[in-house]
């Protein structure tokens, strides 16, 4: 584990320490700064998106100490000592998370802007209840808005990830996929 101090830190602000995707981080930013902005601006983790800034759309969803939270509603002072997981922490060791794999195969992502938040909400669900039924999937994703898919293929992706998880471990990404650039 490495300790990275935010590049934009300022001496004026007290240090806030927390873990992001299993890495210890220290930021010195205004304590009321939104966690969303700290992740995106200070830690350069831009996978977490802003859709509304008021807790309605879920595109800023992250996991904090095992709970799903809207990072646009969390002042960074509240994360002192917390464990944060963002979409960047889902795929580990070069392998897509089964949810990512399933979203890729089943059309769970269209424009992709809701996808990071949707994945975090789905990951939270699977950790809580490894075998959710359709009403549970719908309920778990009800705080995450997607304007592209009509949700149907997102539900299918989550259901497929459930099946896959019980069947086989995640597949390794090919080099082409990992380095894919448009």
């Amino acid at each position: 584990m490495s300790t990275n101090e935010s590049a934009t830190s300022s001496k004026r602000w007290p240090a806030i320490r927390f873990n992001v995707n299993s890495e210890a981080r220290i930021v010195k930013v205004p304590p009321m700064k939104r966690l969303l902005d700290v992740l995106r601006e200070d830690l350069h983790l831009t996978g977490t998106k802003e859709g509304c800034g008021e807790g309605e759309c879920g595109s800023c969803s992250i996991r904090m100490n095992g709970e799903l939270v809207n990072s646009c509603l969390v002042p960074v002072l509240q994360v002192e000592g917390a464990d944060i997981q963002t979409v960047e922490g889902l795929a580990l060791d070069g392998a897509l998370h089964p949810l990512q794999e399933a979203f890729l195969c089943h059309g769970g992502a269209q424009c992709g802007i809701c996808t990071p938040g949707m994945l975090m909400a789905a990951a939270q669900l699977l950790e809580r209840s490894p075998n959710p039924d359709m009403p549970q999937i719908r309920e778990a994703l009800a705080g995450n808005l997607c304007r592209c898919t009509g949700f149907i293929r997102i539900f299918e992706s989550v259901a497929a990830a459930v099946d896959a998880q019980s069947a086989s471990p995640a597949t390794k990404l090919t080099t082409e996929q990992m380095h894919h650039a448009r």
Partner: protein, 753 residues
């Protein structure tokens, strides 16, 4: 053209081309990008709907020397956003015509300083009387646009309507209304602009049509082609909402970049995006229809009015598509259709998936059920008796040459939804239940591509090249914003060239790199651009066979080897093609007569609803969508488009209401502008009939907009079936249901069901 069994990649569910980047959270949307020395921009907007600007004052509490400030006086070229009619200023100059109209721009290195600064610019107005309804605009007592408020009108006539009424068994009239609808793409509008005297303007942004933005920037900056460059960044949803608005936003950011000497980012927050950007045109459609005793349509008189908002923007083309979808997929010998788009003092209405067709089809398909009720024929049967078939002509007297399989689609929709059995069951159960269930249907078409001579006029240029690293690139200005452009076009190229899907990439959507293959709108990408790519690939194979020894059959390795031999001879390996119209496309723009579209996609949708007569909520419980869209290039993406469009259509019908207060959107938050959530969407059953269209990319027709056309009428027809009450206006919220059901109470008690 190939049949499904002979293709390897077209028709297969290959992974979305940019999918892995999106899933890993590393796809780069505009707000994820920073440029060195970048400042942030903000907009000072009109607080009144119409008036003259008397003075602009800057509050002393702000140190304005830290800011770059741009007004209309800073515009080096024309103060006008180029689109169809040159009426919309880039920045208001002395006069405002809608709330939130941009008046002045600010930039500062710290984005957190902007909000206060925007509030510290004080503008005094002399208010003028605004217009907020179609009816007021029609009366023309106050002229808010031109001399007569009329943004555009079309008159379409077929046969002899006036003498048809005398022969009618019944004449049925109805008035149908639709409201504004917000796109609610989850990524708000945003751009970054840079300016330098040597290289001109460069803009990165969330947008659909790079060359529209390019054209707008050239005029505002008075710059030659080689001094303007527009690059689309990953785009988080658009649905038409990023067709014209990004031109304005790009000009604003670029003006600030020029004034400040820094790159400038402008990304709207949700409230600004909702309040200031375009929405779907509200409409009011009046139908007067003559039928004979058997329910055959004898004559239709249609009066269609759309609210265009304060400037012309895309209203004329939206009205055109509304006109051409007003009469439904039916045969009618006598038609008179007058369509008009009226100016009001709202933010200009713009493109939104369906582009006028959902409004027109809502009216027509709702009206069909009223005709059926009036003459006592089953709504299914009424439609069947009037469907278009091959050899018939439609309203513009376009001869149906391609297969029209409406009967087949209808049969399949009835079967899959178990329509008759469910309807019978609900008829039995409803009387004793506070929850009334019903089934509703809509039959419709959607024309693919630009209207009439539009595609010829666009004259799109696209193609492929082969890079020295052994990748084929697709060269188009058509953009990905979720629909699958990248995937579909690379599938087509890989298929046509006989190489692997992984061997084809998309060139950056950058006007400095790709030719102008037209905008990404109008359900044209698969059909029109797909076909251009397919032809460019065949053209390249011919060149390689002629000049580089490519065999009649070859492996991918042999293909790339031939490309390198060709490169050695000619320097580059590139093949571009222009649009070629299918034969027999003749369109008369004056009379609105002829081949309105090169191809049509056809559909029959069925909704099952439950209306709770205690809570007055209406819920869609199940939905079936059967359509013929030509060849389906990617079944998962295609179904995803249909489902997403249906969810938006459900929102249009039952949830999404723009609340206006003195010309301003009052509910400009996601908290109070309500779209369907994961708990609101019903199961959606999507099926395709495939009839390859020989002039579309590998047989494809357009499908992206089609699914927004059918849900609203199918749902309101189902509510009529459930309650016996005709609701003719959307959105239909619980309070509207309450009022309608309460008003119908006495009648309902005596009704049979």
């Amino acid at each position: 053209m190939s049949t499904p069994s002979t293709t390897r990649i077209v028709g297969a569910n290959v992974p979305r081309k940019e999918g892995v980047d999106k899933l890993l959270g590393r796809a780069c949307y505009v707000d994820d990008i920073d440029r060195d020395g970048m400042w942030h921009g903000a907009t000072v907007r009109s607080s009144i709907p119409r008036g003259l600007i008397r003075s602009i004052a800057f509050d002393r509490r702000i140190d304005w020397s830290e800011f770059a400030i741009v007004t209309a006086a800073d515009i080096p070229g024309e103060n006008c956003i180029q689109l169809i009619v040159a009426d919309q200023p880039c920045l208001a100059d002395g006069k405002v015509n809608h709330c939130e109209e941009a008046i002045l721009l600010l930039a500062h290195p710290d984005k957190h300083k902007l909000r206060e600064a925007v509030g510290a610019v004080q503008i005094e107005y002399e208010p003028l009387q605004p217009i907020f309804t179609i009816e007021e605009s029609e009366r023309q007592d106050v002229a808010v646009w031109g001399a007569d408020n009329l943004l555009k009108s079309f008159l379409l006539e077929k046969g002899d309507v006036d003498s048809a009424w005398a022969h009618a068994a019944r004449i049925i009239e109805g008035e149908y209304r639709t409201g504004a609808q917000e796109h609610l793409y989850i990524e708000n509008q945003g751009v970054i602009a840079e300016y330098s005297a040597e290289s001109g303007v460069t803009v990165w942004g969330s947008l659909q049509c790079p060359y529209y933005v390019f054209k707008a920037l050239r005029a505002v900056f008075d710059l030659p082609e080689d001094k303007v460059r527009v690059i689309q960044t990953e785009t988080g949803g658009a649905f038409g909402g990023k067709e014209d608005y990004p031109s304005t936003l790009a000009c604003h950011a670029a003006l600030l970049a020029m004034k400040s000497g820094h790159p400038v980012k402008m990304v709207y927050d949700r409230m600004e995006d909702l309040a200031a950007t375009t929405k779907r045109h509200p409409s009011c459609v009046r139908h007067r229809t003559a039928v004979d005793r058997n329910g055959k349509l004898l004559a239709m008189e249609i009066d269609l009015a759309a609210d265009g908002g304060a400037y012309a923007t895309l209203s004329s083309t939206v009205l055109s598509r509304a006109t051409l979808h007003s009469t439904g997929p039916y045969v009618c010998p006598n038609i008179r259709l007058h369509a008009r788009s009226w100016a009001t003092n709202y933010v200009p209405y713009g493109a939104f998936r369906g582009f006028g067709a959902p409004q027109a089809i809502f009216a027509m398909e709702r009206h069909m059920d009223e005709i059926a009720a009036a003459i006592g024929i089953d709504p299914i049967e009424l439609r069947r008796r009037n469907f278009l078939h091959v050899g018939d002509t439609n309203a513009t007297e376009q001869l149906m040459r391609e297969p029209v399989i409406l009967d087949q689609l209808l049969d399949r929709a009835l079967k899959e939804s178990d329509y008759h059995a469910r309807r019978a069951q609900f008829a039995r159960e409803n009387p004793a239940s506070p929850v009334k269930r019903g089934m509703g249907i809509a039959a419709f078409y959607h024309g693919s591509g630009f209207t009439g001579s539009g595609e010829v006029y666009l004259n799109s240029l696209g193609g492929i090249d082969v890079m020295p690293d052994g990748k084929v690139r697709v060269l188009v200005s058509n953009t990905e914003f979720g629909q699958g452009t990248n995937t579909i076009l690379t599938q087509i190229a890989a298929e046509a060239l006989g190489i692997d899907y992984a061997d084809v990439t998309m060139a950056a959507p950058d006007t400095g790199v790709v030719p102008n293959s037209g905008p990404t709108v109008a359900s044209r990408t698969s059909m029109v651009i797909g076909r251009i790519i397919e032809r460019a690939c065949s053209q390249l194979l011919e060149l390689l066979r002629e000049h580089a020894g490519l065999g009649a059959t070859y492996t991918p390795a042999e293909f790339f080897a031939a490309c390198e031999r060709y490169r050695a001879l000619h320097g580059e390996v590139v093949s571009l093609c222009r649009y070629e119209a299918p034969p027999g496309i003749v369109w008369d723009d004056q009379r609105y007569h002829g081949e309105a579209y090169g191809a049509y996609a056809w559909a029959v949708y069925v909704a099952q609803v439950a209306v709770d007569t205690v809570t007055y909520s209406a819920e869609v419980e199940d939905f079936w969508a059967v359509q013929e869209v030509g060849r389906v290039l990617h079944p998962v993406l295609a179904a995803g488009q249909i489902e997403g469009g249906i969810a938006q259509g459900i929102g249009y019908a039952l949830y999404e209401k723009v609340v206006w207060q003195d010309g301003r959107m009052a509910n400009n938050q996601m908290t109070n502008y309500i779209m369907p959530t994961a708990e609101d969407v019903p199961p959606i059953h999507v099926s395709f009939e495939e009839i390859p269209f020989q002039f579309g990319g590998f047989g494809a027709k357009g499908l992206g907009e089609l699914p927004h056309d059918g849900p609203a009428p199918a749902i309101l027809n189902a509510i009529r079936d459930a309650t016996g009450v005709a609701f003719n206006s959307i959105p239909l919220l619980p309070e509207d249901l309450y009022l309608g059901l309460a008003a119908a109470q006495p009648a309902e008690e005596t009704a049979a069901r």
